[in-house]
Symmetry: C3
Subunit: 333 residues, 3 copies
């Protein structure tokens, strides 16, 4: 399969405010990271190669001063300890510093300041801005006004591109390849932006996708349709059983009680979406079990010691991917 | 005009707990920064010279290790994202570190601890303390007990000296001079400590001051009187029109609806205090348009691209001024 | 007296997840710091020797890069400005970085994540975790799951070992010795985990302990009994008078009004637990007056200038002890 960009990739040029370098060394320098749709396969491979270098360097020497003197403004309009900690660690592992702005209710925004004004103020103090915002499209709005690179750390039900990248990187590191895998997504596939973004990226690698969810939490038709146009093989199920044996990657998400109007329905289905050691008996020996975390019972703690349980390693891969992205947009990769 | 200190300058010696160095190199070392009243013109010129060096160094090399190993305790009893981010960035750009203490309700203060005790604890951990406090005089109280330098980052309706310094530095950098300017202050001149402090500093430079405000938000008589004693030419208006053409610096502040008992009065005047591209047609080509930010409609976003719109550059100048002050009180300027 | 570990020291091996190095240089490397019960006298002497080195280095050069590149995750499930600031300063003074996670209500925990999952996520990003938690035993739970060292910064009414260590280090630095002192503890001895832990450590040094408290806030019988088994001489009083003259160390804690059902009882006793310059007239000239802070009236501010008032120095000693512990568990002492 040749390198290709998905349909939504048309947004790419608007997302990037500086021209993409033709050669690898300046790639993504000064660019915004807004959406998985901005990445072609060659981009992903470049990001992952840099992330792997980061991994090796952390494992060998712990930290290095690649971004010494650089400042990250970490602007979180809604809380996300995991994501903000990961970006903070990524910046610090590279020798850079962080301005944490997490107390939304306290911020100038509380005084009615617009997102563009906040961003244009913060870029006076920093070299790159990581933005988490409850509204879809907020990152793109910020990027329209910013002179410094914006990294989208999740905007509402919109995008969370660094999560999708770390998910894909996890699969690559765990299995050694991305091509032609059977990936089963389990749980709430309707509201989970994680699985939406990941499925789009997997489409670039000829994955076969199984969607296992309660009836009311099925993968949205517009995504199924979008991927269908790219020839992605997709099948839907209500239980894991029929597809577990063929699954290379099992991606679990939480089924929230609150999504169900009829609690009887919830009670009748919830058991089908909990992974136990019993479940794994029928899975491939080298299957990769993933979860974006936090989990609240979807994967039993007994499973943690199974070598296939990759969800904590997934967090670590996230660190390397974010280190790579920060280094890249700051021109130091 | 010879260098002179204003009347309130008598407070100076009490504000400073270490004697002012006679020569520039040790100037402000170990001192508190509490009030604009503590600065004579030679002090301001020294601060601005250092701030300009900071600007050049940031523009050339980004960061440097002047304050490596130094720790700033950032003690904010009330939220101010802009000010705290600016000080954090200033410290980090100089290679120093920050202990952020912004969760007032969580602090030991919530357990009833006095400000002197909190300050004496924090100075065990840090080299300089930046203090934001809702009560007028809090910074002076803290300074009475502290062995390490206190920088006042705003205490109630009292002082916010670093804001006044950055405002003056902005004018200097934008126009290349401070002497003999016509400065028009627009909006809420009654409650804005920003314009109070700035007008006092401008008095040192022979400025002509125009005050444009709704009747109920006029510049307080005690300030008009104080500056009058120093021979400052001051005039009051209710619209911008008569003075716009002669204005070198237009300093806009917000007119808050909440200040008006009669909303009809607010509705009738508010239009007079909004700056649009139309407004700027009659202004000087090299006028400087300033605003302390955040703005909420006082300056239309259409104005942002006008080269006279200096309010985002103002934020950046603030960084350099704060870098200068930190370096100075820590003896590294 | 030979080096001995107290009875509770049996917990030691379970607390430590890596074997104690036989020689000083690797001591505590990779270990958790969970409880004072894990320390024998030789351990304490080693910690204090390192803390003293830290003190000398801070006094001479301010900071150094011993932990450059290392990251501390500061995980506070309940607020404690003093403790978190102290650990942050300790890490920064050693050239390391901090990931602050203090907004409990915002954390993943709010989404129902378990402490083990949070810890296993954070250790992906950091080299050491400092944990403050409202539940007794939380630190031990975290340690069971963590691959990186956990430092207990207080878990409920359980332990706060670094406070006890800094208290003991304060006495050592102020008096030059720990052996055979008369230590009087004053105030709320029932609920104060500080005095519980300190009394256990003092027992290792043959201290004579006086407990002065209101009847309802007496030292818990299980502690008196525990120490009694080790031959510690302990006496209880309701006023300071009978023991002040013989006291080498007076450790004051707060008597909270809320502890009293009958406010009349509170009113009748509270005066007996306030230290004034008058009180100190009858004390030894080289007595050490300590308080864990924050204080709310238990020690009058007039006392602060008395050379015996050691409570602010106590904060500073805390910095050195925490620097020592961080360096030790990270293998850099």
């Amino acid at each position: 399969m040749a390198t290709r960009t998905m349909g939504v990739g048309r947004k790419r040029s608007s997302a990037a405010h500086l021209p993409l370098g033709e050669r690898g060394d300046g790639r993504f320098y000064g660019q915004h990271i807004l959406s998985v749709a901005q990445f072609a396969r060659t981009d992903l491979e470049y990001i992952f190669a840099v992330a792997e270098e980061m991994r090796l360097m952390v494992e060998r020497v712990g930290t290095f001063d690649l971004l010494k003197g650089k400042i990250l403004a970490s602007l979180f309009y809604e809380p996300s300890t995991r994501t903000s900690s990961s970006f903070t660690a990524a910046m610090e592992r590279l020798g850079g510093s962080v301005i944490p702005i997490s107390e939304v209710k306290y911020s100038s925004v509380a005084k009615g300041e617009s997102l563009p004004d906040t961003v244009r103020t913060l870029e006076c103090y920093s070299d790159v801005i990581v933005l988490r915002h409850p509204e879809t499209g907020a990152a793109a709005t910020a990027a329209r006004y910013a002179r410094k690179p914006i990294i989208n750390a999740g905007d509402g039900t919109g995008e969370h591109p660094t999560q999708a990248l770390l998910d894909l990187f996890t699969i690559r590191e765990e299995l050694g390849r991305l091509e032609g895998l059977t990936v089963t997504m389990l749980g709430d596939l309707k509201y989970g932006r994680t699985v939406h973004s990941l499925s789009r990226l997997l489409a670039l690698y000829g994955a076969k996708l199984n969607y296992v969810s309660p009836e009311i939490l099925r993968m949205p038709p517009y995504i199924v349709e979008e991927l269908g146009k790219f020839g992605v093989e997709q099948k839907e199920y209500t239980t894991l059983d029929p597809v577990l044996a063929e699954t290379d990657v099992l991606y679990v998400t939480r089924v929230q009680k609150e999504r169900f109007e009829d609690l009887k329905v919830y009670e009748s289905v919830k058991g089908a979406f909990v992974i136990t050691p019993e479940t794994l008996k029928n899975a491939k020996q080298d299957m990769v079990l993933m979860h974006p975390l936090p989990r609240v019972g979807e994967i039993s703690m007994d499973v943690d010691s199974d070598p296939r349980a990759a969800y904590f390693r997934q967090m670590e891969y996230g660190l390397y991917v974010r280190m790579a992205l920060l280094a890249m947009v700051l021109g130091k990769a």
